[in-house]
Symmetry: C2
């Protein structure tokens, strides 16, 4: 088989043209991905379950539609992977928690059903940090997913399997979920684009929650266009973005005193800002005054932990087998906090959201680093501040896109994040950085 | 003094024309209100503090501006009362709690400063249910405010002093606050209009909080126009509303199985709906499916109690003197609830808000009763469901207006409530019912 489609270089949005022109077809491409999974996933360990039969069946149907000139959408025949907390009918649905190891989803999550209605092919279920509460995807039950760019490094998390499978060319794009950064951080560590649409733009129906207050469904892809295409068919359709950036207001706030990150992280952001200004964006000196990422993180974690305890209460009522001591201790710590502290966390996040919305209303896009570090070794201590740039967009509920921004001195991907009120603008600005 | 302005019949919005024409002037009107307070408030007990010197000083300045043809706004020279949880510089600022009995506000609340900038005159501070957590204004520390329409009945609450002083012609309009219905319920019981703008449309800066999540500042007035005028100058400016209602979609959902209210309450709502349909509105069969007011009330109360405990934590750390046992027991009950239950309350309210916004997006206005009962005797048991029609607009954060809707068989005011996404439309629909 000579593949005219190179899964290590191009992704979801390129496929429709190839199918339309008959250069390749969904069965060939699906087989290509399944072959790569078979060849590579023994090392990467991104997949919890490969849905080979289902995928080939769907690919054959898609091929028939393309052959007859009647594809369902530009996503018809595009092979995707789905994070293990998002329901795919007939597949395992466990959120990386062994207690749910044998649970099979009775029906598709809303977003998965929409993607299938658009013709997407589900290749399988991918690994995640246990319960989505953590950012290394070093899962004691389902294995440690490796960063495909360098073995021994984390792919990030919690959607580590989603990012790793796309980065390794084992899927054209992947669904993930993002509570404080769980789509954007692994996309950053793996050199991908990652898109978290506005809150509930993609339904959380059929997603095992960590925090219904903060959970967002998002997409990992090679390009911003790949992410936008999948997100649009998953429910987050945004209108066409501006074709020119000139005049759009860009804030690149100086958070050096707020988030501890090495120079190359800031240099990548500053270089990206310079490119956007060269493209005609107008620099705006506008910051979210008084926002302290470290303090806000604690509020978000507390809300996630207590809501996570609520999410798993029914299972825990039958016993705590299949929950790791680490995960359980986080949930239980949250559950032991006084009512007033919990309420204060919600009150604090609410004020951040209101102030954040008012801030974003004064500008078109904010540019920040995606993460305060590049991918690190599993043997290294886990930095506490991984989500200190990303969590704000979950608190506000606004769209945010992580986009690659070159390599660090040691050859690992750097990433910057674009956030704002308007998804179309955010996507257009992020695309301009590719 | 022959007063061409009758404070028992007309209110805030009528004054500018009278001042402009020189029919009367702000000093005369302010004296009229102060005289009525002196004559009537011994019975009504609406005022905690009358700011006679301040008010007359402000009235003289206003009179000078009108005389020179340079009023600050159409609110210049309009005498208002302010609920005791809203800061008026130099006045008592205690939220009906004896622990703060001697506290004097160091500066105006944002909304009060705006009203003063527009020329409004602050007559004084009015009574409220202790801590804004309750709806009778039977305040153990500051007295029981009577319903001016019938002694022995509650004026409602928590903004009972605000409604009572306007209903008794002791102020042209009044500021209140509304956490689950605290502006609209007393306006209903006292035969007034009551307007709660969208969340934070009027800042809560300078308002002693009950719940920062649910608190809204609102206005009590004789007419919807009075309320809208004051609200606009307090920060909640809305564009001009539609001049015709034809074609606007009106939902009048049947909540008879959800809220226990006697027939005259429903009849008033149905009659109001019929009037709006006659005016050209289109009946829309759209309900907020699954919304259970009684269950939702418990979520809102829990959030209010825990956040109230946070609001008063600093004072309580010095001892609980000056907090009534009833108020304290509510706050402390909230503080004793488990973290998971508190989080579940926030999660539940959040889902109500999202579903409510989606519901309101399908229509222009919702018409419901304001309260499930008319004003009741202080000697009667307090109904648990007083806020079961009003709380939803606080949960959603949308504008809502209570407007008089005739009299019950026993001669007490009935009221209906209009809510929706668009303040201008909500105000226009409510005005059409006057």
């Amino acid at each position: 088989m000579s593949a005219p489609f190179d899964p290590t270089r191009t992704g979801a949005a390129a496929l429709a043209a190839l199918y339309r022109q008959g250069v390749t077809d969904p069965v060939t491409v699906t087989r290509l991905y399944l072959d790569r999974i078979a060849a590579l996933d023994g090392q990467v360990r991104a997949f919890n379950q490969v849905l080979e039969v289902q995928a080939l069946h769907a690919a054959a149907a898609s091929a028939g539609r393309w052959a007859s000139g009647r594809p369902l959408s530009d996503l018809d025949g595009v092979p995707l992977a789905v994070k293990a907390n998002i329901a795919v009918a007939g597949a395992f649905w466990h959120a990386g928690i062994a207690a749910y190891r044998d649970r099979v989803a009775p029906r598709d999550a809303d977003c998965v059903a929409r993607l299938r209605d658009a013709g997407a092919i589900i290749l399988g279920i991918v690994n995640m940090h246990e319960g989505a509460l953590g950012a290394t995807t070093d899962n004691v039950w389902f294995g440690r997913t490796q960063n495909p760019l360098r073995a021994g490094l984390t792919p990030g998390g919690s959607s580590g399997g989603s990012a790793a499978c796309v980065a390794a060319g084992m899927a054209a794009a992947a669904l993930g979920s993002d509570t404080m950064g769980s789509v954007r951080i692994p996309s950053a560590y793996c050199g991908l684009a990652g898109y978290k649409p506005a809150r509930r733009a993609i339904s959380i129906d059929g997603v095992i929650p960590l925090s219904t207050t903060l959970d967002h469904v998002g997409v990992h892809g090679r390009t911003v266009a790949d992410c936008a295409l999948v997100a649009a068919h998953a429910g987050a359709l945004s209108p066409p973005g501006p074709t020119r950036l000139s005049g759009l207001r860009l804030a690149s706030p100086d958070w050096r005193s707020r988030v501890d990150a090495p120079d190359p992280i800031w240099a990548a952001r500053d270089a990206a800002a310079a490119r956007l200004l060269s493209a005609g964006m107008a620099a705006l000196d506008a910051d979210l005054t008084n926002y302290q990422p470290g303090q806000a993180r604690r509020l978000g974690l507390l809300v996630s932990e207590v809501e996570g305890l609520n999410a798993h209460a029914a299972q825990l009522a039958t016993g705590d087998d299949g929950f790791s001591p680490e995960f359980l201790s986080l949930l239980r710590w949250g559950g032991k906090q006084p009512a007033t502290k919990v309420a204060a966390a919600y009150q604090g996040l609410d004020e951040i959201r209101l102030a954040g919305l008012a801030w974003l209303d004064t500008l078109d896009a904010v540019l920040l680093p995606t993460a305060p570090q590049t991918a690190f070794a599993f043997s290294d201590p886990v930095p506490a501040n991984q989500a200190d740039f990303t969590a704000l967009a979950d608190f506000i509920g606004c769209p945010a896109v992580a986009v690659p921004a070159g390599l660090s001195p040691d050859g690992l991907p750097l990433s910057v994040q674009v956030m704002g009120r308007d998804a179309a603008i955010v996507l257009a600005v992020a695309s301009a950085l590719e």
